[in-house]
Symmetry: C2
Amino acid sequence: MDDTIEGPLRPALEFWFEFASTYSYPAAMRIEAMAHREGIAVLWRPFLLGPIFQRQGWRDSPFNLYPAQGRYMWRDLERICASLDLPLRRPSIFPRHSVLAARVACVFAAESWLPEFVRQVFQANFAEDLDIARSEVIEACLERVGQPGLAHIEHALESANKDALRSQTEQAMVRGIFGAPSFLVDRELFWGNDRLEQAMAWCKSPGLGQSA
Amino acid sequence: MDDTIEGPLRPALEFWFEFASTYSYPAAMRIEAMAHREGIAVLWRPFLLGPIFQRQGWRDSPFNLYPAQGRYMWRDLERICASLDLPLRRPSIFPRHSVLAARVACVFAAESWLPEFVRQVFQANFAEDLDIARSEVIEACLERVGQPGLAHIEHALESANKDALRSQTEQAMVRGIFGAPSFLVDRELFWGNDRLEQAMAWCKSPGLGQSA
C-alpha cells in the first residue's frame, strides 16, 4: 500500500478520549505516531465518561461495579502495555477525577503542543500514579510541554470553557459514544484501543468488506 | 515461523462460548481452521451467560439493557462479518434461548463432529434467523453433521447431562469468565473475538511482552 497517496477528501480521525479511562492510555500514547505514518489527520476530542455512565445508572466505573470485568481489564491492560513497551503502574485511585485535565485539553484542543500534553497527563495517571485531579499535577504537565501552566489553567476554568467541555460530552452522547477511547470517522464509530487500526483503515478506504 | 514445531507441553486453547452471544459467532466460525494452521488443540467449552449476567443484576443482555452499546455492537458485528465473508442476518429474537443447544454441545464436546455442529447452530441463529430454542432446529443441526438428532437430544436432556452444563457454567465463573467468547490458556484469560489471535500467540509463547 502506498501511504503517500492522499486524497483531499480523506476524512479525519476523531479521537474521543477520557483521561481517567484505562484503555484510552495506550490509544493516546500511540495514535499520533500511527496517524503521522498513515497520513491521517487526528482531531483530539476530550470528554467525560461520568455523565454518560450516570445516565446508564452507573455511579462508578463499570470496572469497579463488576469485579470480574475489572480484574480482567487490569490484566489485559498489563498485556497491552507490555506489548507496546509502555510503563504501567496501577493508579492507587481509580477512576481519577479528570475534569480539570479535560477542560484544559478541550480549550487547547487545536494547539500543536496538545498531543504531547495529553500524553503527559496519561503518563502521570497510569505510569507515575500522580493525582491528575490536582491542579499542580496538570500545571506541571503543561510546563513540561513549554506552556504557562497557571495561566492556561485559569483560562480553562472560565465559564465559557467549562461549557465547552459540557457541550463536547453532550456531543459524544448524541453521536452514540458510550465508552472510551472511541474513534469517529465521519459517522462511523469504533470503540476501544483495539479498534484503532480498523478506524485508520476506514479513513483510507471507508466501507464494509475491508479487512479487519 | 515454523508451525510444524510443536512441543508436547504447548497448552491447549479453551474456547468458552455461548450460542446466543453475537461475538461468539465469528469466533466459532474461524477458530478450528486457525487452530489447525497453528497446530493448537482446541477444547470446546459451551456455557450459559444468563446465570452470570443475573449475578451481576442484569436480567437481559447488556446489549438490550444499554441501547448505545447494542447499536454499536450490531454495527461492529456487521463490519466483522463482512471482513470475514460471513453471512449475517440479525436475529429477530435476541438473545435466543440457548440452553438446549448448550446441553447438546456440553455432552458431546469431545466428539469429532462437535465443531461442525457448533457452526451449524451459530449459522442457524445468526445467518438464517432460525430459533435455536426449538428442538427441531437443533435436531436438524445434528442431522446435518450426520448424527441421530432425536436420540442425541434425548441423551442431552438426561439429568446428569443437565448438571454437566450447570457445573460448566459454574466453572466459567470460578475462572473469572464474565462474557463470551472467552479463551483460556492455562489460567490466562482473553475475552472477545478480537482477542483470538492473541490467545493463540499465548499458547505458542506464553508471557508478557509478546507482540499483541
